[in-house]
């Protein structure tokens, strides 16, 4: 890669990526593996069939610390539209940081630790490219008595796929019992790690937060298992696209609201009724009257992928309705798929649209997301 990557930050697993023969690219200021010798297609399919290990240490890990859950969650609720007060110990929730216009500053995971001695803590995992913005925004609103601590000395690994639980149980038996969107501090062999049963691939799996100096040992331990392959950012992107999940800076940004982005599942009833969050007025109006534009999932005819930026039109018309925000080839489906924004009246499932690729119209249909069924682990009742 020449000198292109010399000014980039490195995760604790950088040397391992090199050793594994990864192709390294710049991503959000980090030198990250986009793919390993297996290649994006096989890495993607392997994750859907067995288990994939991802280095996501570039993401921001932080903790909001307050005197008790009531105080910390009440503060966080002033910045996000989700119920944080009702978040139970050992549970995690997906949410968004909102700006005063109701636009999305970032999407993030918030977890309430299970341990009683960490009462008042909320653990955050934010996007790498948004760390600085998020931390600055949160700090500028911090009341007395609550602090934001960022972890620069922790790695984050994701183990994803139908075999993830079986593999994880060999080294961290306590992880088997976690339900989707639950968190726990537990031992991976001899190392204390924070584990959540979640991920961003649509598969069952875990995210494992470990001390930086233990990350390589954990990664090597997992990679030594027959079911596990190292997976790069390329397949991470195609997996999350198939799962219908938003990528910040592409499918959501500071102009899009959670209603437009069709992620109102992150807003629970109490918050939706009260609108007591930044941009509440806009968001309540969009909830009541419908948004002007909406994110849709698109199934594309033929084989040509429509990439980000491709125009969305009415078939045969020359009026641009919107743009593709994520698009590519879906290895699981063997076909191109995309997401993009269209005026709400064109967002119904089944609506025929056209995408412009290299000057030509390609037929596309609004479809239900996710493109590939999610296989999260729900505990038997």
């Amino acid at each position: 890669m020449g000198d292109q990557t010399t000014d980039l930050l490195k995760t604790p697993l950088y040397d391992l990526h090199e050793e594994l023969g990864a192709k390294i690219v710049p991503f959000a200021g980090y030198a990250m593996p986009v793919q390993y010798p297996l290649g994006i297609m096989k890495e993607h399919l392997h994750t859907r069939a067995a288990a994939g290990l991802f280095d996501v240490s570039h993401m921001g890990q932080a903790v909001l610390k307050g005197p008790d859950h009531e105080t910390t969650s009440a503060f966080l609720e002033t910045l996000v539209p989700s119920n944080m007060k009702e978040l139970k110990p050992g549970k995690q929730r997906y949410t968004v940081l909102l700006n005063r216009d109701g636009g999305i500053l970032d999407d993030l995971m918030v977890a309430r630790p299970a341990e009683a001695d960490r009462e008042g803590d909320l653990m955050l995992v934010v996007n790498a490219a948004r760390k600085a913005v998020d931390y600055e925004y949160i700090r500028s609103h911090l009341p007395d008595g609550i602090t934001l601590e960022t972890f620069e000395d922790r790695a984050l690994l994701a183990l994803q796929g139908p075999k993830a639980a079986e593999v994880m149980a060999r080294f961290a038996p306590d992880a088997a019992d976690l339900a989707f969107m639950s968190v726990a501090t537990l031992l991976f062999k001899d190392t204390e790690v924070h584990v959540s049963r979640s991920g961003y691939t649509g598969e069952d799996g875990y995210e494992i937060s470990a001390p930086a100096d233990k990350a390589e040992l954990i990664a090597r331990t997992l990679l030594a298992e027959e079911e596990v392959e190292a997976i790069g950012l390329g397949a991470r992107d195609s997996l999350r696209l198939e799962a219908g999940l938003c990528l910040y800076g592409h499918d959501i940004d500071e102009t899009t609201s959670p209603v437009e982005a069709d992620i109102t599942f992150c807003m629970q009833k109490r918050r939706k009724e009260a609108g007591d969050f930044p941009g509440g007025q806009r968001i309540l109006k969009e909830l009541a009257e419908g948004p002007a534009r909406k994110r849709v999932a698109l199934k594309i005819e033929g084989r040509a992928p429509a990439r980000e930026g491709a125009q969305i039109r009415i078939p045969g018309g020359d009026e641009t309705l919107g743009e593709v925000t994520s698009g590519g080839f879906a290895p699981t489906l063997g076909a191109p798929i995309a997401m993009g924004y269209v005026p709400a009246q064109f967002s119904e499932v089944g609506t025929s649209l056209a995408l412009v690729v290299r000057g030509k119209e390609i037929p596309a249909t609004v479809t239900a997301a996710p493109f590939v069924p999610q296989r999260y682990y729900r505990k038997p009742k």
């Binding site: 986009v34 793919q35 290649g39 994006i40 297609m41 096989k42 993607h44 390329g234 992107d237 195609s238 084989r303 040509a304 992928p305 990439r307 590519g328 080839f329 290895p331 191109p336 290299r358």
Partner: protein
């Protein structure tokens, strides 16, 4: 039959005044898994530097430029059906199209295999 290479990582096998054109092994390795190929129409006249074909991997789209002037006489339709052939056999059965050369002297501006190999080593 002589084989020529371009700096844009195309190869040309010339037989008489017809060149069979594809992308090199180096190019397919850089692209990664190819999922889509678009070929030029038969009869299309192309000038040196024109975009002749499109090749897309999971991640990105790239163009195949024609390194000499000529007229397209045949496209490899098998690639449209099975784009992964580009990764499997790039310098043989996964040729993209055949071009009837209009100025064979342009071939002199291209590299031979040894020169191309040396060029790739500098990248």
């Amino acid at each position: 039959m002589s084989t020529y290479f371009s700096e844009d990582h195309e190869w040309l096998k010339v037989d008489g005044d017809v060149a069979t054109i594809g992308i090199t092994n180096y190019a397919q390795a850089q692209l990664g898994d190819v999922v889509f190929v678009e070929l030029p129409e038969n009869g299309k006249t192309l000038s040196k530097g024109d975009e002749a074909a499109v090749v897309e991997s999971v991640k990105a789209a790239s163009e195949v430029y024609v390194p000499v002037d000529g007229e397209v006489v045949e496209g490899n339709e098998a690639l449209v059906e099975e784009p992964a052939k580009v990764n499997e056999d790039p310098e043989n059965s996964a040729w993209f199209f055949k071009l009837k050369l209009s100025d064979k002297s342009q071939l002199d501006g291209l590299m031979d295999e040894a020169a191309y190999k040396a060029y790739v080593d500098t990248l």
